[in-house]
């Protein structure tokens, strides 16, 4: 098999491959890639280079991992997972990503396609009006600096306390929507000024708000789906993909500069400047962790405010309360984060960069309603093809630090996508295929065309066969809002 690397890649099984430490000077552990042979063959050179760079970082435990949606990223590959000893290992903004706590949220409804379809245009208009998207968009929540510090510390809990959501939402958010250790004193004024007006906004790029449909034939595990309130019968659900916006990016940028200097002081050498890091227990490491948790909590709050606005839009269009429409949160999960987590072999600082937590059944971190089935895992596909709901497994707890894929992964550059199709044409084509689109930027829309992404079904099959997550349902889009 021809791969985009000269390194030796050893087959462990049909869906797992390993690059031994002998393949690159400085590797402390093997690098492991979850992929079918076809997906591995299509992976760009950056994946192999970067996952082996990660394997060189001080304090790394067992493996540097890459998920099947992996592709080149800044420092870590997208799809990268690595665990470090919190006592003598490092923390790296390149292992979290610029969009700290970029993540996915899924909301159910009791509505069916036949009830929504006649009002879809109106619903899309309401959603587009209430959930700002695109360049420089500002949210409807006016925050003082003191309020914003409270958001940083309390995350989604701040939203509930201020009327933007339901108390029951919290138990269905990773870490109840609030990471401990958030310390606003380690956040720069630049970051605050970028973020203070952005609560409740989608942003642009690959972020979206989507109306989706779950048909009977798209449910793979009916009992597990039912435990999440999903029964099929063309049931309508809402998916949100966004993160901490400019605030998180500024935190990451600020600390990359801090860490470049700190590495010299701690005698740390990395293979790539974007892997800048510091010992987790060092002052710089703890300051970044405190600031990163602020950005993560702000992202949880951002998705919570967006959920509130979605419920308002449905109430306006259907003339019923959101609770009567059955608009419960199914789950909210991060895919750009670093957290200290407890496993059978100890406590590790787990970095997930374009990878989703996928805790298995019985995990004490899960709410009672999901402890029997495992954690819901929400994986967004392209806006033309659909998305998947999966659940975490024991195998993930043993092999991948409770982690799995996060989406489909790009295969084409933004510039190439724009040359291939115009946004206006794509919008017309999607409408013909039953998907309404509202977008702020037509060129931004063209960049996100379905053909620019891997087939998410192939990626999902890989993690399902590998046993690190199990398929529950496939969700098809009928409406997409983009920046």
């Amino acid at each position: 098999m021809k791969l985009n690397t000269d390194m030796q890649v050893v087959k462990i099984n049909d869906y797992l491959w390993e690059i031994p430490p002998s393949e690159k000077p400085g590797m402390l552990v093997p690098a492991r890639i979850y992929a079918s042979a076809a997906i591995l063959g299509a992976m760009d050179r950056g994946v192999f280079d970067q996952v082996t760079n990660v394997a060189c970082l001080p304090g790394i435990h067992r493996y540097a991992l890459c998920m099947p949606d992996g592709h080149w990223g800044y420092g870590f590959p997208i799809g990268g997972v690595a665990a470090f000893n919190p006592e003598d290992g490092v923390i790296s903004p390149g292992g979290v990503g610029y969009d700290i706590n970029c993540g996915m949220r899924l909301i159910r409804t009791d509505l069916s396609l036949s009830e929504v379809q006649p009002k879809l245009e109106l619903l899309m208009t309401e959603l587009f009006r209430r959930v700002p998207a695109g360049v420089g968009s500002r949210g409807f929540v006016n925050l003082s600096r003191r309020d914003f510090r409270d958001v940083m510390r309390q995350g989604a809990g701040w939203c509930i306390a201020n009327g933007y959501g339901w108390e029951e939402d919290l138990e269905r958010i990773e870490e109840r929507g609030c990471l401990e250790g958030a310390d606003p004193t380690h956040v720069t004024d630049y970051a605050v000024e970028r973020g203070i007006n952005q609560l409740g906004t989608l942003g642009s790029g690959n972020h979206y708000l989507e109306i989706q449909v779950l048909s009977d034939k798209s449910i793979y595990d009916r009992a597990t789906a039912a435990a999440m309130g999903l029964t099929g019968r063309d049931q309508v659900v809402l998916m949100v993909h966004c993160g901490s916006r400019g605030f998180g990016h500024q935190v990451a940028s600020d600390y990359l500069k801090v860490f470049e200097k700190a590495m010299r002081r701690y005698g740390i050498f990395v293979k790539d400047q974007q892997l800048a890091c510091a010992p987790f227990r060092s002052p710089e490491g703890q300051e970044y962790f405190g600031a990163m948790n602020c950005a993560a909590n702000t992202a949880f709050a951002n998705r919570q405010v967006i959920t509130h606005r979605i419920r308002e839009a449905f109430e306006a269009v259907f003339g019923e309360s959101a609770s009567r429409l059955g608009m419960q949160l199914i789950y909210d999960v991060a895919h750009n984060i670093a957290k200290v987590e407890r496993y059978r072999d100890g406590e590790w600082l787990v970095h997930r960069k374009g990878a989703t937590r996928a805790f298995g059944p019985g995990s004490p971190e899960l709410p009672a309603c999901y402890r029997g089935i495992g954690q819901p895992v929400i994986c967004g596909g392209s806006m033309e093809t659909g998305s998947y709901l999966l659940v975490g497994t024991d195998r993930a707890m043993q092999d991948t630090f409770g982690s799995t894929m996060h989406g489909s992964g790009r295969t084409m550059s933004r510039a190439q996508a724009k040359r291939t199709v115009r946004g206006e044409q794509l919008m017309r084509d999607m409408k013909q295929h039953g998907i309404l689109v509202k977008a702020v930027s037509m060129s931004g829309l063209a960049e996100e065309a379905g053909f620019a992404y891997k087939n998410i079904s192939d990626v999902v099959e890989t993690v399902d066969y590998a046993g690190i997550t199990k398929k529950v349902a496939e969700l098809k889009p009928i409406g997409n809002i983009k920046g």
């Binding site: 760009d44 592709h71 080149w72 990223g73 800044y74 997208i78 610029y98 969009d99 695109g134 360049v135 420089g136 968009s137 500002r138 630049y190 000024e193 970028r194 973020g195 007006n197 952005q198 942003g203 642009s204 790029g205 690959n206 916006r245 400019g246 990016h249 500024q250 990451a252 940028s253 990359l256 400047q273 974007q274 790009r410 295969t411 084409m412 550059s413 933004r414 510039a415 190439q416 702020v440 930027s441 060129s443 931004g444 960049e447 920046g483």
Partner: protein, 146 residues
């Protein structure tokens, strides 16, 4: 002579990258600035209703360009604006220990109804970032996170 820029297809699959070039450092800065401004929105569609002055000083030219482009991204979010034009002047101090940039920016608050908005650039990255001199020509490669 003004500098020029071109967007790059095959670098940073999920993001944006450009090369900027000029026959002088001011021309290079001008070209890189226009590349970032045009990434955000078509400047032809942006009025000059907002003005802002920036003065920055850094020890070397690489850092100055990186920080300046980052400042534009910050202003876009913090002020809620997109840009029409930037007029730049660049000087090195007498001791040759620092470079100073003076920039006069014009633009307008974001308005999707009247402006051709493009990508919401979130930041300037260090990936492949380089400022180089080849003969009389200055070049920069910049990857933007979107």
């Amino acid at each position: 002579m003004p500098g020029f820029f071109r967007f790059l297809d095959d670098i940073a699959l999920a993001d944006m990258a450009f090369d900027a070039e000029g026959e002088s450092l001011p021309a290079l800065f001008d070209a890189a600035t226009r590349a970032l401004i045009e990434s955000l929105a078509d400047p032809v569609t942006i009025a000059e209703a907002w003005q802002h002055t920036v003065d920055m000083e850094e020890p070397d030219i690489d850092t100055l360009l990186f920080e300046w482009l980052g400042r534009l991204v910050y202003l876009k979010d913090a002020q809620g604006v997109v840009f029409h034009r930037a007029t730049l002047s660049l000087n090195q101090n007498d001791a040759r220990t620092a470079w100073h940039l003076h920039a006069e920016l014009t633009g307008a608050p974001v308005d999707p109804a009247t402006q051709d908005l493009r990508s919401d650039v979130k930041g300037v990255t260090k990936h492949l970032y380089a400022v180089t001199q080849e003969g009389a020509s200055w070049k920069a490669r910049v990857v933007l996170d979107v």
